[in-house]
């Protein structure tokens, strides 16, 4: 038995072709299929291989070909498919679902566009947004850019630089891209090891059980759409001069003066990156504050801290046009005026699901007005054999959520264990500088949902800042349900927030109470210990004190100690 090679569809093996010809197909085959070779194992079986869900996790590269009756009562003829699962898109969700499905005994193929740091209709790459154009390169850029702050801090700790450290853009890009290449290779390996067939090309759904990849057809009992999302730039004059986050992660040279349009997490993260790498940074936001949807106090705090680090915020200022000057520089025309001299204008104005040209309309997969695929709680689309996970469904667009959805789907389909992803208390981070970590409800959401809450806050200068002399502060917040004493929200902005929030997320997810937090001994001296030493509420909010439907925030100042 040949080992699986996943670099191209396996069309070369004569054995397979023979098998294919000999294989009694009981389904109507599209014409193109007559010359198409299936990926068949010689061990064809009509049994429900799903009974074999106790297979050890280490998986043989070539799975038994799974055949399963369309309906258990045998009323319909048994139909044979090339694969139990065909996944379109090898990003976080797609790879996770494919691997796990294969580990559970399913035969799985996944298709993905060729690798490029910039995504398009024709380029993508194994690893997807997270690895190639999101979390990973972003975090590497954050690491790189944080050093300028660390150099400043280190001055306060006695370190001196004869010449101000300079940053060489091309070194960073080269090292970053080498790492991305390594990671995309690792992802391919992961698929290979799991026995998943990887097909390079653009997948399109032809019918509820058939996917077309660049002209070749593959049939599958189940199809998973996990094609993710892409940055969206609004249609304004001169938009062709703007860049999106894909391009921003792979610029050939340092932007000298950059405008970032948008107030979401991507905008803030890039503002921090470019600021740290010594660009002049202007952020244009439509609203008064950054990070809509986050806790109001966090929104205020992060905006202040970023401004203190030199980022210029232009609030309630929307772009209307981009004009390119004769000297090549860009001007941004807004509702308030025109700002000139930008080397780059980046739009971080949202992302849209990649649902165009997938053939969804023809098979009847319903999408919502944003272009996101509508799915039920098990990630099933309106077509029973077609499923979707990750950003393409626009639920919570985070890698670990796509992983959760992918894992749940594999369980549902191939382990006889219908599993719903659990969206409660999903923690998340913004890698702004300083970063934000959070889990659970914002104060505003908590009031709406629970009415009576106690809010504990701490706003302090961390030990490091007292020495560095920099104006860095840390803000922390716990939101507690007054009735149950449960901690229903936890928010932090300051150094290490993302790392700190994870452990607390376990506690919040487990439904622990404020008393449980208080009973935990601190780790001294850390910032995190503040979360277990918040003794008196900053304010108690009671619905009873509210008059005529107005949200009455009864603020009680903390008693002495």
């Amino acid at each position: 038995m040949a080992t699986t090679s996943f670099t191209a569809p396996k069309l070369s093996s004569p054995t397979f072709q023979t098998l294919c010809r000999n294989f009694p197909l009981s389904l109507p085959i599209p014409k193109t299929l007559s010359s198409f070779s299936f990926h068949l194992s010689p061990f064809l079986s009509r049994f429900h291989l799903h009974h074999h869900h106790y297979h050890p996790p280490r998986f043989h590269p070539r799975r038994l070909f799974a055949v399963r009756a369309e309906s258990e009562n045998g009323a319909e003829p048994i139909r044979h498919y090339d694969f139990d699962l065909f996944t379109i898109g090898a990003g976080s969700g797609g790879v996770r679902a494919s691997r796990f499905a294969a580990n559970f005994g399913a035969s799985v193929a996944v298709c993905e566009l060729p690798f490029s740091t910039i995504s398009s209709e024709t380029t993508g790459g194994v690893g997807g947004t997270c690895v190639l154009r999101g979390c990973v390169p972003k975090k590497l850029m954050v690491y790189a850019s944080k050093y300028s702050h660390e150099f400043d801090e280190s001055n306060g700790f006695g370190w001196k630089y004869d010449t101000e450290p300079k940053h060489d853009w091309s070194t960073l890009m080269a090292n970053k891209n080498a790492e991305l290449q390594r990671l995309t290779g690792i992802y391919k390996n992961i698929l290979n090891k799991a026995g998943v067939t990887l097909i390079e090309g653009r997948g399109k759904i032809v019918d509820p059980h058939t996917v077309d990849v660049d002209g070749k057809l593959y049939t599958a009992r189940n199809i998973l759409i996990s094609v993710g999302g892409r940055p969206f730039i609004p249609d304004i004059p001169g938009r062709e001069y703007a860049i999106d986050s894909d391009a921003a992660l792979d610029l050939p040279s340092k932007p000298e003066k950059v405008a970032i349009v948008g107030g979401g997490y991507i905008a803030l993260e890039f503002a921090g990156i470019f600021n740290g790498l010594t660009s002049e940074v202007h952020v244009f936001i439509r609203q008064k504050k950054v990070l809509r949807g986050f806790d109001e106090e966090i929104r205020d705090f992060v905006g202040e801290q970023m401004a203190l680090r030199g980022i210029q915020f232009h609030t309630e200022e929307s772009p209307q046009a981009i004009v390119k000057s004769a000297d090549g520089s860009l001007s941004l025309k807004t509702n308030k005026g025109t700002i000139e001299g930008f080397s780059h204008i980046m739009f971080a104005t949202g992302r849209r699901p990649n649902t165009k040209n997938l053939g969804l309309e023809s098979v009847g997969v319903k999408i919502n007005k944003n272009g996101a695929i509508e799915v039920d709680e098990y990630s099933r689309t309106t077509v029973p054999s077609i499923w979707a996970v990750g950003d393409v469904t626009d639920r919570i667009n985070l890698t670990p959520v796509a992983l959760m959805e992918g894992a749940a789907l594999a369980k549902t389909l191939f382990q006889n264990e219908p599993t719903k992803p659990d969206y409660r208390a999903v923690p998340s981070a913004v890698f702004s500088q300083p970063p934000i970590g959070q889990v659970g409800l914002t104060e505003e959401q908590a009031i709406k949902e629970y009415g009576d809450i106690d809010v504990y806050t701490a706003n302090f200068r961390p030990l490091k800042a007292t020495l560095s002399g920099l104006p860095d502060r840390v803000f922390m917040k716990l939101i507690v349900c007054a009735k149950t004493n449960k901690v229903i929200g936890l928010h932090m902005c300051g150094e290490d927030s993302a790392e700190i929030a994870q452990g607390f997320a376990v506690a919040v997810k487990a439904g622990l109470t404020k008393a449980d937090f208080d009973a935990t001994v601190g780790i001294h001296p850390t910032s995190a210990e503040e979360f277990v030493t918040m003794r008196s509420p900053t304010r108690k909010i009671r619905q009873s004190s509210e008059s005529q439907g107005n949200m009455g925030h009864e603020a009680k100042t903390a008693a002495g100690v």
Binding site: P57, C130, C135, V136, K139, L140, Y143, A144, Y147, E150, F151, S154, F157, G158, W159, K160, Y161, D162, P165, K166, H167, D168, T171, N175, K176, R182, T399, P400, L403, M404, A425, P427, A429, G437, L463, K464, T466, L467, A498, E499, I500, A501, Q502, G503, A505, V506, A507, L512, A519, T520, V521, G522, I523, H524, T526, A528, E529, V532, G560, V561
Partner: protein
């Protein structure tokens, strides 16, 4: 007695027996435990006095300072130096991220020391203010117990003051101990190490505990040559063995020379520095030798014999679960009791004491699942049981989940240093019994994990928590496959 306190709306007489005391509580020692107990007791309505020795960074029989070990000679100045030293590695790491930094960096030790001293002076002031805001009377001088309800304070000018108190709390902490080897006076302890005039060029650290590895990391990070000597095979006795091995490897990776299973036998003053002689016959010359070989409780000059307060053979004050000594009116918290010598534990003991004695609510400190950290570079942090402890204590099987990985930052910086994380789980109950991590940010990461452990979180609850991506911490909630299962049968036999 002017002050009364209200507990649950009832009037609670503090001086029921009609005895007239100067104070409801007199605390000897204004460190973490003492200040906490004093403040909280005062907040419950007690009239509180506290005495502390005059301030100086280096402690002695007659020198101390409000804030105690943690603020003046422990956690805080140590962490400041760790911050300073961490920049050394950070600057190296910056190069592969495109930063062009001079090959030879200038580090000004005097500047760091001055700023450290400024900061502890500031904190010393804050602690004094905390006490005065809580209406605690602070007296400068050495406290002695002269009777079950009587304290004598010798002020710096020699005058003696005498006070009566319904309760006396001993919170005098501990001090570094020097092994009695020839030439021991040439060595320094952690007190001096935090206040050296010059950065050592070549430091020898003797000891395998957390203080030893922290100072080794500090000096190495700031550019010194460091040799670390310890008696065991691995440093950090009492911690998880796998973690100990990782710490040793990381210290070595950062350039510290390790000398396991080696004792220092003699120190000799020479023209070139201090000659250090080992029990293996080895010799080397160092300009600084640090003894980090343990700490002893400060009980000698308290006059405990006079009233019969029992101490154990290490000199620690013996207390019951409520921190009460064998003399009913005398209590003790913190390092002087040598239970678990950590600031937050002293705070907990102080809080429980105040609640028990003045809050009308008997409270025992809870020593289960107390997290702690070693601020080596990179740091180690743990909560709950080590793998060895779990195997010993659990009746059934123990599941061990480990994850060793190259942190994302290192993928570009090129630093060869793995982060390791570990969860120890009771196979039968699925409860997470212990968590440990060695790697950047470990102490910050462990705090939240500690809340979960404290409340008996199961591995399933960890697994059901979504990760924060990309972080190191997410590894704790994504450990899917068990690294090993230690069966009850395979466990080492007990003597029975």
């Amino acid at each position: 007695m002017a002050r009364k306190m209200l507990v649950d709306g009832e009037l609670n007489q503090t001086n029921k027996e009609g005895a007239e005391y100067d104070f409801d509580l007199f605390v000897i020692g204004a460190g973490s435990g003492g200040v906490r107990a004093a403040r909280f007791s005062a907040n419950y309505g007690a009239k509180v006095g506290i005495c502390e020795l005059p301030f100086h960074p280096i402690s002695s029989e007659v020198i101390g300072g409000v804030g105690g070990t943690c603020v003046i000679r422990g956690c805080v100045p140590k962490k400041i130096l760790v911050y300073g030293a961490t920049f050394g590695g950070e600057i190296e790491d910056a190069r592969n991220y495109g930063w062009e930094v001079n090959e030879k960096l200038d580090f000004n030790w005097k500047k760091l020391l001055q700023k450290k001293t400024d900061e502890i002076n500031r904190l010393n002031g804050i602690y004094k203010r905390l006490l005065s805001n809580a209406s605690v009377k602070l007296l400068e001088g050495e406290g002695k117990i002269v009777g079950p309800n009587k304290v004598e304070v010798t002020q710096p000018d020699g005058t003696k003051l005498s006070y009566s108190a319904k309760h006396i709390l001993i919170a005098t902490g501990s001090r570094a101990h020097r092994p009695p080897i020839p030439g021991q006076e040439l060595a320094i302890t952690s007190d001096e190490a935090l206040s050296l005039d010059d950065l050592p060029k070549h430091a020898v650290v003797f000891g395998g505990g957390y203080i030893a590895v922290e100072f080794a990391s500090i000096w190495r990070g700031l550019g010194a040559t460091v040799d670390l000597f310890y008696r065991k095979e691995l440093p950090l006795r009492g911690f998880d063995d796998e973690m100990r091995a990782v710490v040793a490897r990381n210290l070595e990776g950062r350039g510290i020379k390790l000398h396991p299973q080696t004792n220092l036998t003699e120190l000799v003053k020479t023209d070139n520095g201090i000659k250090v002689i080992t029990d293996h016959g080895g010799e080397l010359i160092a300009d600084v030798v640090l003894f980090a070989t343990g700490r002893l409780p400060n009980t000698k000059r308290l006059n405990l014999e006079a009233v019969g307060v029992e101490i154990d053979k290490t000199g620690a004050v013996k207390v019951d679960e409520y921190s009460r000594t064998n003399i009913p009116s005398i209590w003790a918290v913190g390092d002087v009791t040598n239970r678990m010598n950590l600031t937050p534990v002293a705070l907990m003991e102080g809080t429980c004491f105040a609640k028990t004695v003045f809050g009308g609510e008997s409270s025992k400190p809870d020593y289960r699942n107390i997290p702690c950290a070693v601020f080596s570079i990179p740091p180690l942090s743990i909560v709950g049981l080590s793998e060895e402890e779990a195997i010993e204590q659990v009746n059934g099987d123990v599941l061990v989940f480990t994850s060793t990985f190259n942190p994302m930052k290192n993928t570009v910086s090129g630093r060869q240093e793995k982060t390791i994380m570990k969860l120890v789980v009771d196979a039968e109950t699925d409860k997470v019994l212990g968590a440990s991590m060695c790697g950047p940010d470990a102490p910050e990461i462990m705090q939240g994990i500690a809340v979960a452990l404290k409340c008996g979180a199961t591995k399933a609850q960890f697994d059901s928590t979504v990760g924060i991506h990309p972080s190191a911490a997410e590894e704790f909630v994504t450990m899917r496959s068990v690294s090993r299962r230690v069966t009850a049968r395979g466990k080492a036999k007990t003597n029975l």
